[in-house]
């Protein structure tokens, strides 16, 4: 691959006077973009430092950063890198990098480089000089060969007549572009078009710089709205958003894995042959971070045995219950008396006893989350549902708005917070209107409309967007006085208190281009995914892949004979995307979209070399695996896989120390 570095060091005639003019120099180099990702940093920095040292100059420091033109990140990195005694910054970068530094630094900034044009070489692959971006594409007239780039004279009305034996008169190495155009059109029997086309005139005013800059700034604004990074994958929610919520038919058999939450697996309380009732506790939380499990049907326990877990793929101990179809309620399922007089500890106990976990996907035990060691002032409810395709939370909010508000009030009381904010993306105006009308007379509950952007619903993004607070690296929302909860979880809190009902069912969206009849269903925990798919009419064809959850963060499943869990918000069927990774070209897109402001390109690089310390130093643990980097990668590198592996290896490395 060619190196399209856009700058080169100035000659000594310019560099020497530049260096001689100051002292306490800080040399800052950009690690370049659009080049093979081989060396981790570039040689010009050391070369310049060498020249300066030869002149007897004092070097206050050197730093090599990635993508200097990325102002948001460079600002932060510069603060860390700039030595206190530096008096002058000398930048090795293209003109963009130099001007970014000049804009943000208080010190005098000098350029040690000239920027080199690579006009016509665009796109991600940068293999050939192809498109000059003239704003008036001629390719339709010329058989897909560009006369602007390929003809030395950029002629648009045919040959100049100077070509000899098919070679250009300006450059004898080069084919005559118009001869290539003619040959290609003739092969397609289209040569006559050349004669019938009117004379073309190039209109240089087509490239409207004002339009371009306003376009670019509007797009950047969208990308940087609320927090850095993120993206706008095509939503495709229309497949299921207008289909009303329905109760899924009673499953004949449910399989309830004892591990479907973050933390220790629960201990079974029942054995094969026993009769259980709806809502009866069948699994006891084993430890502080664990969760209770309850029967989602009444009937007979047919087995307590290892069954395939949908997200881990491993066999885990599960309780299998054959439904008797009666849904006979267990005596423990009854409303609490005087719910308003319940203390915070009472509520925590109920939340724990009723097996509540985060229903947004992570399934973290709710009781643990609510028992904060630090003071909490705000409870944020996540009603963003920023994952494409999914509409489960949307329907929960439409159908159970009162329960959600009740649950939020309970949460506020439990954690002692003053304020509750329900954040909903602006692609759900019906929900926003409904919640606003229901909360207009509640002083401490606010509805916040957020722009649709993935991953808006991630805890840290939500906090930044709603409150402008930054959760520290490695920290939790409670470090900034916030508890974040999913709207479905809060609805379950309401059920637990108002009805005494444990978490035995949830709303699941079954959707995707390949599902015959998408829909939103209230599904018993433990219902086989297979039943959901076939009830929705099955799939449209065999070229299909499945995920539990959304397309961005969902878990791929190959076997549909697995149960719906407490954290299963969707079952999606889609056309599998074929791709083959190629080498990283340092295009910087992953850095541009990473909402945690990381440099994801380094993870596969370091993981491939087994450099786990490097992975750690690039703050792999801050990654929440939202998949933005995977989604945008121009080289199709499975970055998230490298991150997951990296996290494991870093943890192993630390245990060893």
């Amino acid at each position: 691959m060619e190196d399209y570095t856009k700058f080169r060091l100035k000659g000594n005639d310019e560099l020497i006077p530049l260096l001689e003019a100051g002292d306490d120099l800080f040399i800052l180099a950009c690690n370049k973009c659009f080049k093979e990702f081989t060396a981790e940093d570039e040689p010009e920095c050391d070369e310049l430092a060498g020249i300066a040292a030869g002149l007897g100059k004092k070097i206050a420091g050197c730093a090599k950063l990635d993508f200097l033109c990325n102002k948001t990140l460079t600002q932060k990195r510069l603060v860390e890198a700039l030595p206190q005694d530096a008096a002058k910054i000398i930048v090795v970068a293209c003109g963009l990098g130099i001007q970014t530094i000049a804009d943000i630094a208080d010190l005098p900034v000098c350029a040690a480089t000239d920027s080199v044009s690579y006009g016509g070489r665009h796109g991600m692959a940068l293999t050939q000089k192809l498109c000059q971006a003239c704003g008036q594409c001629y390719l339709n007239l010329t058989g897909g060969i560009c006369p602007i780039v390929d003809c030395s004279k950029s002629l648009v009305n045919g040959q100049c007549g100077g070509a000899k034996n098919g070679k250009c008169e300006v450059d004898k190495e080069k084919d005559c572009a118009w001869e290539n155009i003619y040959n290609r059109l003739q092969a397609q029997n289209r040569a006559g078009e050349l004669a019938s086309n009117p004379i073309e005139l190039r209109d240089y005013s087509k490239v409207d710089y004002k339009f371009i800059s306003s376009y670019v700034s509007s797009i950047r604004e969208k990308r940087l709205d609320g927090y850095y990074g993120g993206l706008h994958p095509s939503e495709r929610k229309e497949l299921s958003e207008h289909i009303g919520l329905a109760v899924f038919p009673e499953p004949a058999t449910v399989v309830i894995p004892l591990s479907q939450h973050t933390g220790a697996p629960a201990q079974p309380l029942v054995s094969a042959g026993e009769h259980v009732k709806l809502g009866q506790k069948i699994g006891e939380a084993a430890g502080y971070v664990s969760a209770m499990l309850h029967a989602s049907v009444s009937g007979e326990v047919t087995a307590v045995e290892p069954r395939k877990h949908p997200t881990t793929g491993a066999d885990v101990l599960s309780v299998v219950i054959r439904s008797d179809g009666k849904n006979e309620l267990h005596e423990s399922v009854k409303p609490y008396e005087n719910p308003d007089s319940l203390t915070a500890d009472d509520i925590l106990e109920i939340v724990r006893e009723k097996g509540l976990v985060g229903m947004g996907g992570a399934a973290f035990p709710t009781a643990v989350k609510l028992k904060s060691a630090k003071p909490i002032d705000t409870v944020l409810l996540n009603g963003c549902e920023c994952e494409p395709l999914l509409t489960a939370d949307h329907h929960v909010m439409l159908n159970y708005a009162d329960d959600i508000i009740y649950g939020l009030k309970v949460l506020l009381r439990t954690v002692g917070a003053e304020k509750g904010i329900i954040v909903v993306e602006d692609n759900k105006p019906d929900v926003i209107a409904l919640l606003e009308s229901k909360t207009s007379d509640i002083g401490n509950i606010e509805i916040l409309e957020a722009k649709t952007k993935y991953p808006q619903g991630a805890e840290k993004m939500l906090i930044k967007k709603a409150l402008g607070r930054q959760v520290p690296s490695g920290g939790l929302p409670l470090d900034v006085g916030v508890v974040v909860s999913n709207v479905s979880t809060v609805k379950a809190v309401s059920d637990a208190i108002q009805k005494g009902m444990p978490l035995i069912e949830r709303v699941v969206t079954v959707t995707g281009e390949k599902i015959e009849k998408p829909g939103n269903y209230i599904v018993k925990i433990g219902t086989p995914v297979m039943e959901l798919v076939s009830y929705c009419g099955g799939v449209t064809d065999d070229d299909v892949a499945f995920k539990l959850g959304g397309p961005m963060m969902g878990v791929a499943i190959s076997d549909l004979n697995v149960p719906v869990l407490k954290g299963t918000n969707g079952v999606i069927a889609f056309a599998p995307e074929d791709s083959e990774p190629s080498e990283c070209i340092r295009c910087g897109r992953c850095v541009d979209v990473c909402p945690m402001e990381l440099y994801p390109l380094y993870f596969p690089k370091y993981a491939g070399a087994g450099n786990w310390q490097g992975v750690k130093d690039k703050n792999v643990r801050d990654c929440m695996e939202c998949g933005c980097c995977d989604f945008i990668c121009s080289a199709k590198i499975p970055i998230r896989d490298a991150i997951k592996l990296g996290k494991k290896e870093v943890a192993a490395m630390e245990r060893k120390d």
Partner: protein, 197 residues
């Protein structure tokens, strides 16, 4: 990284044959591509097949993505590509015997060649002037790309060519003044060398 805009509907209707196959590249994703408008156009046009993919400027990736659709592609009378000019040419090099048409016009991002283009900042002129201008580029910040100071046409700090634009040379002067570095403007007269590349 380029900006693409759809050609007018009528143009696209006139080039697409009765058996058109549509290839849409969203490689630069939402960043520089009118995704929704292209989808609508595709739907209305109802060709014999359609492929929405990304980064077709990478020939290896393109071939990989095309594999599944080869039957329809071979049957198509025209292939209409919604992408920048690079993508159209990559596709057309794969199907030299077929009519491959561009559904978009491509615009440059002059000066925005970095990875996160924010402003028209660097024209890649090959002889960086930033050292004497306080880190503000006179080639891009001045409408006339003057390298030896103001033209004299600015009024109240605004450019005479474009009244919405600040005079680049006034910005340069103000920044140098604030840093106490106005002496750096006392360089010999500069002549731009367009032969540098």
């Amino acid at each position: 990284m380029l900006i693409t805009q759809l050609k007018p509907k009528e143009t696209i209707a006139s080039i697409a044959g009765s058996k058109a196959f549509y290839i849409t590249c969203e490689g630069c994703r939402e960043v520089y591509f009118p995704e929704e408008e292209a989808a609508q156009l595709r739907e209305e046009a109802a060709g014999i097949g359609s492929l929405v993919t990304d980064y077709i400027c990478n020939p290896d990736n393109l071939m990989f993505q095309l594999e599944k659709h080869m039957e329809k592609l071979n049957a198509a009378d025209t292939i209409v590509v919604f992408s920048c000019g690079v993508g159209v040419q990559t596709v057309s090099a794969c199907f030299t015997g077929k009519k491959v048409y561009a559904g978009c016009d491509t615009y440059p991002l002059p000066g925005g060649q970095g990875v996160t283009p924010l402003e028209y900042d660097c024209d890649q002129c090959g002889e960086c002037h930033l050292n004497s201008t306080g880190g503000i580029c006179p080639i891009t910040a001045c409408s006339k790309s003057l390298v030896n100071g103001q033209c004299g046409g600015a009024k109240y700090g605004k450019c005479e060519v474009d009244k919405d634009m600040d005079c680049g040379w006034e910005r340069i002067y103000r920044r140098l003044e604030a840093a106490g570095l106005t002496d750096s403007l006392l360089y010999p007269v500069k002549i731009r060398d367009f032969a540098v590349e």
